[in-house]
């Protein structure tokens, strides 16, 4: 058996009386794609923060590649983690181009004197960035300011930025939000292809599982301070979610899509299919 990339043991997260999740156990294997699903406020993003070592656990421990994320040393270990943020428009006045984002992913975290232009180091990096731009299909807009890009273009670059550092684990925090269904599919497939190429496991936070349904190995469903882990077929079922939420929930499969009916938030967002 291979060594897990991520080990979450008996982890709990609470803010005062509010328990986001408790006694969470999860081992992520190097090849796995895991979707983290749950309603707003269920602690999905907080889980990512905890894995990054930015948010201390109330209880339990998290290890990335065998190292506790709260140790000083492992903060450096987070270099083995790629991170994809939410799709949010960037300041249009920013003097930052798509290719600069990729350079950040490569060596943005390294202290030390800047590499001289045309040095061997700079040339190598330039080459790797050029290859990545090609791979993610960003040639047309890689030199434009990031503030002028569409959400789909920006998230393409974000995928490239996350994988270019050869991470073992990729954390994606709702990277498909505010993209149209076609783009969601494209970005999700791009991420899946690139992470296979670079052999990275993925923890993918989303509130709609449909764009990633084909590539998901397991689902971590967070709700009401409780959770379920398993394959989509095991977890995304009416009786499982009804028990999790404590109210009747209907899971409907329709033309390869999964629709959940009956979670109370659904009333607020009738246009979204999944919560």
């Amino acid at each position: 058996m291979t060594k897990p990339v991520l080990t979450i043991s008996n982890a709990s997260m609470a803010f005062g009386d509010r328990v986001l999740w408790s006694h969470l156990n999860l081992e992520v294997q190097p090849h796995e794609f895991i979707a983290v699903i749950g309603s707003n406020g269920s602690g999905k993003s907080t889980l990512l923060k905890a894995i990054l070592g930015q948010q201390p656990l109330t209880e339990g421990s998290i290890r990335v590649l065998g190292r506790s994320v709260r140790s000083k040393r492992a903060q450096r270990g987070s270099r083995r983690i790629g991170y994809i943020p939410q799709n949010r428009a960037m300041d249009s006045g920013l003097r930052l181009r798509g290719r600069d984002l990729l350079h950040f992913g490569l060596d943005g975290h390294e202290f030390g004197l800047p590499h001289l232009p045309f040095s061997r180091h700079s040339r190598q990096h330039k080459k790797r960035v050029a290859q990545m731009i090609e791979a993610i299909g960003a040639s047309e807009f890689a030199s434009k300011p990031v503030g002028t890009l569409s959400g789909g273009e920006l998230q393409r670059l974000r995928v490239g930025q996350a994988v270019i550092g050869e991470p073992r684990l990729i954390l994606a925090d709702e990277p498909l939000s505010a993209l149209d269904p076609q783009q969601q599919k494209t970005i999700a497939e791009l991420l899946n292809r690139e992470r296979r190429e670079h052999e990275a496991a993925v923890l993918f936070v989303t509130h709609d599982v449909n764009p990633v349904l084909d590539m998901v190995d397991r689902v971590l469903y967070l709700a009401n301070g409780k959770f379920r882990i398993g394959t989509p077929d095991e977890v995304l079922r009416s009786e499982v979610l009804s028990e999790l939420y404590g109210t009747p929930i209907d899971v409907v499969r329709n033309q390869g899509r999964i629709v959940v009916l009956g979670t109370h938030e659904h009333d607020h967002h009738p246009d979204e299919e999944w919560h």
Binding site: S78, I81, Y83, P85, L96, H109, E110, F111, L113
Partner: protein, 278 residues
């Protein structure tokens, strides 16, 4: 009234060697740190720090302490307060707006009580009349070198943290520590710049050259080169033009700096129109 006079230039030049060295180093500091001031949206903070630097210098003058030391203390205190309390941009702006008049007021009080040479007083606000003595040069050069070397060592992570903070933090870049360190470097740079261009005109050195460079290019290599080049032209050009007329160098520095910015904006506008037309 003589704005330019080059009659005794050959005799004057040796007298301003110190000023040229100090000015050159400060230009490098201003050009480089200005990039981050622009990218981190901290221009207003620079202004606030410079007023407290002025207060420190004025109080030092009043009590007969070294003026560079006073302005250094003033700007480090200001940078510390802004860095500590003003993590968010909006909060930072109001803290700066509160600190700035307080600093200016204190400085004016100290100057009013001071009974020495009037030129000393005026110089703190609007810059020196070219004379930089040897001990001052040592101060300015050491501050400049510390800032330049530190800035180069933290260049990549600071740039990452300034332009893409969320991902930088996720990648393990110590964004908070960097932001505080940056404020200290900014405090040092302001204190040094106050000595040459004066508290009111620090922005022309720490913001304008980099802003001009950022108008012209996005290249991470060209931006620092251009910013430093613009700052050098403004400062050295300003000193060389001012010396003949024995006027303060600051109006020359600020005017050149402003002209460069105007030209850069013009070029950017023409380019944009060209891009739209094409």
């Amino acid at each position: 009234m003589v704005l330019f006079d080059f009659t005794d230039y050959a005799e004057l030049l040796p007298l301003i060697t110190n000023s040229l060295i100090a000015g050159g180093l400060l230009a490098v500091v201003g050009g480089l740190i200005g990039i981050f001031v622009n990218n981190r949206d901290m221009s207003f903070a620079v202004h606030g720090i410079s007023e407290l630097s002025f207060a420190g210098a004025a109080i030092a003058l009043l009590f007969g302490v070294d003026v560079v030391f006073g302005s250094l203390l003033g700007s480090l205190v200001a940078a510390g307060i802004i860095g500590w309390l003003g993590a968010r941009a909006r909060e930072r702006n109001s803290i700066v707006a509160v600190l700035m008049p307080a600093g200016l007021g204190l400085g004016i009080l100290a100057l009013s009580l001071y009974e020495g040479r009037a030129a000393n007083k005026f110089g703190l606000l609007t810059g020196q009349i070219v004379a930089v003595n040897d001990p001052q040069l040592v101060w300015l050069a050491s501050i400049s070198l510390v800032v330049i070397v530190t800035l180069l060592l933290i260049w990549r992570p600071l740039n990452f943290a300034s332009l893409d903070p969320e991902v930088a933090a996720a990648r393990g870049v110590p964004t908070r520590a960097l932001s505080f360190l940056f404020m200290l470097l900014l405090g040092l740079s302001v204190a040094a710049s106050v000595q040459v261009v004066g508290a009111l005109l620090v922005l022309s050195l720490l913001v304008t050259p980099a802003a001009s460079a950022l108008k012209l290019t996005s290249s991470p290599v060209l931006v620092p080169l251009l910013a430093v080049a613009f700052a050098l032209v403004a400062v050295l050009g300003g000193i060389l033009l001012a010396v003949g007329a024995s006027l303060p160098i600051s109006p020359y520095v600020t005017t050149i700096s402003f002209l460069i910015y105007g030209i850069a904006r013009g070029i950017a506008a023409i380019r944009e129109r060209g891009a739209v037309a094409a």
